[in-house]
Structure formats: C-alpha cells, structure tokens
C-alpha cells in the first residue's frame, strides 16, 4: 500500500478488523509494505496489522525504514497487488501515476483511490494493465463507497450506458443543503463546512466543481468508452448560487444541486432538481443516476468521501484476490 494518510490509515484499520474475511478469501493474505513520503515499512512475512491500525504516522511502525522510496518498495516488495492511496493531483497525476505505472510494469494488480492518475492517463493506464494482463480497479475514485463501476461491470453486463448524472461532491452538497434548509448565504454555509472539516484547506476544489469534473472524466472514459480529458468538461461551480436563487427554486418545488453530467456533453453545473427526484439527496450524501438501454434508470445513493471510501477499496482487493486465486 502506498500512502498512509486518511484513507491509508482507515484502510489499515479495515484490513485489521476484516482480517478473518480476507483470510477466508485467501489464507495467505498479508500486507507486506506501506510507503509514505519519508520512508517505508516492509516485512516480507507481513506487517503487524494491529500495530498499523493503531498508529497515526508510519514512522511509528517497527518495520519502518526512513528514506526508502515508494517506487523502491514497489520494485522490491514482490507483492501481487499495489494499493494507491496518495493524495490527488490532477495537474500531472503524480506521484500516484508513477506508482501505478511501476506496479503494472512489475506485473502487479492495482487498486487505487487516487483520482489524479485516472484523470490524466486513463487510457494509458488501462492499456498498460491490459498489456500486462493485470487488473486495474478504481471504484473508490468516484463517489467513494457507492458501487458504480462494479455495478455496471458485474450487474449490467448487457447494457449500454446512455447517460450518467449525479451529485459527485459531498462538500458542495452540504453547502447547498444548508442554504436550502436554513436559508443561509453561500459564504456562511461554506464557513460552517470548513469548521466541520468537510472541505480542503483550499475549498475551490469542491465549490468550483473541479473534484466532480474529475469524476465526470473517469465515468465517461470508464463507462461510456470515451477518451476525454479534464479540459473537455464544461464547469460552473456553486459560488454564485445565491439564497434568492435557492428560495426561488424551492418555491417551484426544486432544490439546486451541483450535478455532473455525461451524455453527448460533459458538464458540471448547478441544476434544478425536483424535490421528489431520486437524485435530490441532502447533506454530504452523493447520488448517481444511470440511464441504461435495457435496465432503464438506476440510482445509487451513499457517502462519497471519508472513511466509508475504504469499503470500495476492500471490495476491489477482494474481487482481485478471488479472480486471481
């Protein structure tokens, strides 16, 4: 596993708590290494998951070696699966992109929660995985715990996806929900979201629609066989949504939500959603609405960020272990 931040630490805890589930799938399942920016923890017999689950910094692990790089860990580990959980960088996808490329070159399956590499190099990485006969799974990159790619891959095998729309950012949904229910100004709702720790230090990633636009790119490329880039997404954030606009919408039976759309267009923009529409969910919830040629309309709702995201990573890991067993 590369990255021992919020997601990495919660994944370590989940691997410890679910160790019996994992052993049932593969008796020999073990986590042999964890990479961080200042060094790596490595033990070929398997790291102590109980210890990993209890520490905040990787340097607190007894198998930690300062200075060893994550790329060196990937090269030396001999692992079957590399899990990438480093922070998203949508400019060049680094360092996650290098980690994923390296792992695939080494013949490892990859599970990533990091959107960056999948936004900047989706086709390159999926082609490389195919060439190396490796699995590349990225369920956690879009809408956290919501099963989206697995749903389409495993349950809609005969369907063609015609349109995807959804609330793909919990922070902007929290802000718009507070404006809707409490009549707050955008600025006040944003401040509240910041105080509650729902936003990044720089909130523009959420409120300018950058984060949902990344997800739109991955959805379009993965589920609708497109080859699009971040720059192809038309994007309007929620900064200019006023309490008056929210109120006018409400008086006509609508809520305003930041919606990502993939059809003939690629768009992230505030939209009016009828209050009884399945996409009209509030708080930090995410929702994704698929239109398929056979199944018709399907909506999934759940938490798109936070510790729930490890559910998607765990499912990807177990799926790979099961298919390669």
């Amino acid at each position: 596993m590369i990255g021992f931040g919020f997601i990495g630490r919660h994944l370590a805890q989940a691997l410890y708590v679910k160790r019996d589930v994992l052993k049932k799938v593969d008796k020999g399942f073990k986590l042999v290494g964890v990479g961080e920016i200042d060094g790596c923890a490595y033990n070929e017999k398997g790291l102590n998951l109980e210890e990993l689950a209890s520490i905040k910094k990787l340097s607190g692990c007894k198998d930690f070696s300062k200075g060893k790089t994550s790329v060196e860990l990937i090269e030396d580990s001999g692992a079957d699966i590399m899990i990438e959980t480093t922070p998203t960088n949508i400019k060049d996808g680094q360092p996650g992109l290098t980690h994923i490329e390296k792992a695939l070159e080494e013949g490892m399956h990859v599970v990533t929660s990091n959107k960056g590499p999948m936004v900047v190099a989706f086709k390159k990485l999926t082609d490389l995985a195919k060439k190396k006969a490796c699995e590349l799974r990225y369920e956690a990159t879009v809408a956290g715990a919501l099963p989206v790619f697995s749903l389409v891959r495993d349950c809609l095998r005969g369907d063609k996806i015609l349109k995807i729309s959804g609330i793909l950012n919990g922070t902007s949904n929290y802000i718009l929900s507070r404006m809707y229910f409490e009549g707050m100004s955008f600025e006040l709702a944003l401040r509240e979201a910041q105080e509650r720790g729902f936003t990044e230090a720089d909130p523009s990633y959420d409120i300018e629609g950058i984060d949902p636009a990344c997800k739109v790119v991955i959805l379009a490329n993965a589920l609708m066989d497109r080859n699009v880039k971040f720059e192809d997404v038309e994007r309007i954030g929620i900064r200019r949504v006023t309490p008056e606009a929210v109120n006018l919408a409400k008086r006509a039976g609508y809520a305003i939500k930041l919606i990502g759309t993939v059809d003939e267009t690629l768009e992230v923009a505030p939209k009016l959603i009828l209050e009884n529409h399945p996409l009209c969910v509030h708080g930090t919830l995410n929702a994704l609405h698929l239109e398929a040629d056979l199944a018709g309309e399907i909506t999934v709702i759940g938490y798109g960020a936070g510790k729930e995201t490890v559910s998607a990573i765990m499912n990807d890991i177990i799926s790979i272990v099961k298919t390669s067993a």
């Binding site: 006509a252 305003i256 529409h277």
Partner: protein, 156 residues
C-alpha cells in the same frame, strides 16, 4: 411526427375506407379517429384523425392522394409537442433583452424575480418550447447568460 386532420366524407358507403387507404399506404399510423355522423353539414360527415407519419413528405403525399380521390380536407396541421421548462438566471439580467430575444420556439409563460440582497439579481422563468427544440433553446439561453456574465441554472 403527428398531424391533426379533419376530413369531410360524403355520406355514402366505402368513403372512410377510401380515405384511410392513402394514409396506410404512406406509412401513417392512426392514433385517434372520430367519425361524427351527428355533425353532418352540407352532406359531408366530419372525420377527425390524429396520424403519426414517418416524414413530412409522406404526409404531403397522403394529402395529394386524398385530394385526387375527392376527399375534402377541412383541416390539416402538425401537432407540435410542447415542453414546460423551469430555469433560473443569476447575475445581471436584462429582462427586456430576454423577452425580445429571437430564440425560435421559446415562449416565456411566466417569471418570478427576487429582490436581491446581494449584487446578483435572480429570476425564475417558466418557458414553453417544442419538445424537439428544448436542447437548442437551452443552449441559446446559456450562451446569452454567459455573454451577460450571468449563470443559467437549468432543470435536470
């Protein structure tokens, strides 16, 4: 495309069949028919039909053939299916410009404006538009909003 037709048929056996044959021959799918014998006027029975034709050409061909057969056409017009759209504009909005805009097919049914507490004005529009033109109309509105540095919040 659907067409609303009213034909005047002579009150003689076989006239309805004579009128329906060209419709079927040109691919028209009969959706509705009303034979109003009690409204006979000047020896003609009005028959109202709604027919779905594959193209305008097939409809025009049918009309010519009906005329050739001596069937009188009292009314014939395309049924334009309309959509009601709600959207909100936020920013500097020139209502005069909006109502005088030449966006084809767009009809503003009503609007509600909100007294702004910030510098951004805000207006909710209810628009009627032909179903087939909705995409085009929304694109034009979006362009117009962009030009005026406003944002368009359209409905899903």
């Amino acid at each position: 495309m659907k067409f609303d037709l009213t034909l005047g048929l002579v009150d003689r056996p076989g006239q309805l069949l004579k009128a329906l044959e060209p419709i079927a021959k040109n691919g028209g799918n009969l959706i509705y028919i009303l034979h109003e014998r009690e409204k006979i006027t000047g020896g003609f029975i009005p028959v109202s039909l709604v027919v779905d034709f594959p193209t305008v050409e097939s409809f025009d061909r049918t009309k010519r053939e009906l005329e050739k057969r001596g069937v009188s056409i009292i009314k014939s017009e395309e049924i334009i299916e309309k959509s009601l759209i709600t959207c909100i504009l936020v920013g500097r909005i020139d209502m005069e410009k909006l109502t005088e805009s030449d966006i084809e097919g767009m009809k503003i049914i009503n609007f509600e404006a909100s007294a702004p507490t910030s510098k951004e004005a805000c207006i909710r529009l209810n628009i009627e538009a032909p179903v087939k033109a909705v995409g085009k109309i929304m694109s034009r509105l979006k362009e117009m909003a962009k030009k005026e540095d406003a944002i368009l919040i359209s409905s899903v």
